[in-house]
Symmetry: C2
Subunit: 415 residues, 2 copies
């Protein structure tokens, strides 16, 4: 049971946008037991669309297509579909009514012929309602392969997937179960880990696949399996994960499926009734943004002072000007003062403070580019840590944010 | 002159990561006049890699491959390459020395045989130095098509591209120039725009391609062209963009190539010597993060108070408790107070304040989910604006952030 995803649009091929639709679609298909064999991003031309359809038909039973369904001339997908399925466009009354309603309700400009043309659909297609937009989804079949065409606007595409496509796929196909377990490790490189688990890896059952996913400062180990017995599938993976813990438990810090680290921190804070604030310099609000992206963060997160300028550290946080003068703004002393002040100012149990020189230029400090201080405030006091995360700027911020959450999590576990 | 990008790794096909490597590679190739015909994401199996190589060879003169070069067993790209190019692996002394140096300098664990195996490369390959990692890039040719294989870790891949691949491609191929101009429009849907510019669009020269890129609240119009005469290319696009301005100048707000709106705001603030602060509730630091991601933001951005909890609005910003009590925390009055207080507290010329109910639950207010107040502080005073951005939460935050920057920009233009 294999699927292929085809995303249509030059904006992907010139690097103007990031193709997040594929990420959503891959996840959604995996969840209902359908593996994605390939993701193909192609130009918005009839020839290329037809070539991609032909190739996908050979490989996959389900082909999900996004993009190219707009009302304007550059969108040719509907015509390519008619060619491929030897079909013609006919007007769909229900779609027309829906478009007219959308215009009445939400759009100030009058409806035009071009808008009405969105109701023209291939006669052989099952039409899938697009609650949030004018271009409907289309479900067609050829040589036993299902083709689903959807608009490229992410929230319209997601609406059609959830309301129409996923329920239909679940009815149309017998599907196995797919399960993944991803263990996060810190502190060792992938080859060092591979050596420690070599014997176990060699004995892994053939239906369990292991992948190493190295990224900044951590290596994730993913175990994947497909099967028809869901309970057995999970039990087998659980058994292997337990063996992993017994081999490299010292470097494992939780699992990805439990959620990102800021979600885990949130759950721990909430369970223990603790609160958190942040004081951010070069991280510029990134910590606060990640924390508040977790549903229910208002239960434990009180706020952040993004003291980007040195004067804001003095004026808002109340860090002593003399302290900054003496130690420089990128220093352990200032990080500690920031963590202490924000904890007191906002009145929380825990705090994170960051100050550093993320580059490209040296800024208000003499520290080397990449130098970062992170301080963690807790009911026990303040601790500070120095790092050099190199360059470029985005990498320094990303590494610092990850490290700050790890340090905070460690501290919370003491309570 | 066409290229294809192949990204290898199950993590892309199960939706575990976003494929940002392709975005970088597409942009980098476009800049030197190489069009990307297709991006293909495939599984980490020998069969699938060989199939993708075969297909790409038919279509493209340059094939850039990322991923699958790690030292562990799940990475099979090097073996697939040997099969495809009928080659064997041999040890490369320079790569071995580089790996040994990296270990000496940066890695605490001792070097192992598995690490040394990273120095085994196909004998026919030109080896490309990976300054930031142990897996070198590989440059091979078959039937007149260049294949370049690089590791999937983004900063290692980028290093190899910039130091090795791009200079070689520029020497190896005669390339045309590719130019894009993207105009941002606000306030009209794509079909309404298409009708207003229909006559112009019909007369566009065949070598200029127009694309409509609708997204939340705006439609971008992209003009693309390829040619050998760079000056003429730009002049032709300039001519068409001017015609666009004369047709729909009322809805155009600048061009994408000028940079994102927060960069434009930054340039305007800097030019006029003004400073900025933000007070953020439901946007949770997102405004500050985007502002500080612009190089040189410290020239005008002083900081932000992320007053996520109501009590933080009172304690840190000094908004009167009675005002919140009377109007509720999601109200015009509170947005105005936040913008005024943060401007005074941090001492800036301009400020942005956000308060709203982004959902999913109603939070500390009685306002409907999606209701948002944005206030802009300027040397002239404070203005406030009410919106409903619907759901889900991420969309509300994204729309509010975009709108806040637009409102601020409008205000700055008054000075």
């Amino acid at each position: 049971m294999q699927a292929e995803i085809i995303t249509i649009g030059d904006e992907i091929l010139i690097g103007q946008i990031v193709d997040t639709n594929s990420v959503y679609l891959s996840k959604a298909l995996n969840k209902i037991g359908i593996s994605v064999y390939q993701i193909t991003s192609i130009q918005d031309t009839k020839e290329h669309i037809l070539e991609a359809f032909e190739n996908a038909n050979k490989r996959a039973q389900v082909v999900l297509v996004t993009g190219g369904l707009g009302p304007t001339k550059d969108d040719v997908t509907k015509h390519a579909i008619c060619h491929y399925f030897e079909d013609i466009l006919v007007q769909d009354k229900q779609v027309l009514n829906h478009i007219e309603e959308l215009f009445k309700k939400y759009i100030s400009t009058p409806i035009s012929d071009m808008n009405r043309q969105q109701a023209m659909v291939p006669s052989k297609a099952n039409v899938l309602k697009n609650t949030y937009g004018t271009a409907p989804g289309l479900w067609l079949e050829k040589n036993g392969t299902v083709f689903v065409s959807m608009p490229g606007v992410p929230f319209e595409m997601k609406g059609i997937m959830e309301e129409e496509v996923l329920p239909r796929l679940m009815r149309a196909f017998e599907r196995p179960y797919i399960a993944h377990r991803t263990v996060n490790t810190y502190g060792l490189g992938e080859s060092a880990i591979a050596e420690r688990i070599a014997e176990w890896e060699n004995k892994l059952p053939v239906d369990i696949k292991l992948a190493y996913l190295p990224s900044l400062g951590k290596v994730r180990l993913r175990l994947s399996s497909i099967g028809t017995d869901e309970a057995k599938l999970h039990a087998n993976l659980q058994n292997q994960v337990e063996q992993l813990y017994s081999l490299i438990g010292d470097i494992i810090q939780g699992e990805e499926e439990e959620g990102v680290i800021e979600a885990k921190i949130g759950a721990q804070l909430k369970a223990k009734g603790f609160t958190l604030a942040t004081a951010e310099s070069f991280t510029g609000g990134r910590l606060a943004e990640l924390i508040t992206a977790i549903p229910g963060a208002s239960n434990y997160f009180k706020g952040s002072v993004v003291s980007y300028a040195t004067e804001t550290k003095i004026k808002v946080l109340g860090v002593a000007a003399e302290l900054i003068e003496k130690h420089s703004v990128v220093s352990e002393a200032v990080a500690i003062a920031m963590a202490r002040q924000v904890k007191e100012l906002i009145g929380t149990d825990f705090s994170i403070a960051t100050t550093g020189n993320a580059g490209p230029s040296k800024g208000d400090s003499n520290e080397e580019v990449g130098t970062v201080f992170i301080a963690i405030g807790s009911p026990n006091g303040i601790s500070a840590h120095k790092f050099n995360f190199g360059s470029p700027r985005e990498r320094v911020v990303e590494k610092a944010v990850g490290k700050a959450f790890q340090l905070l999590q460690k501290e919370i576990l003491n309570f």
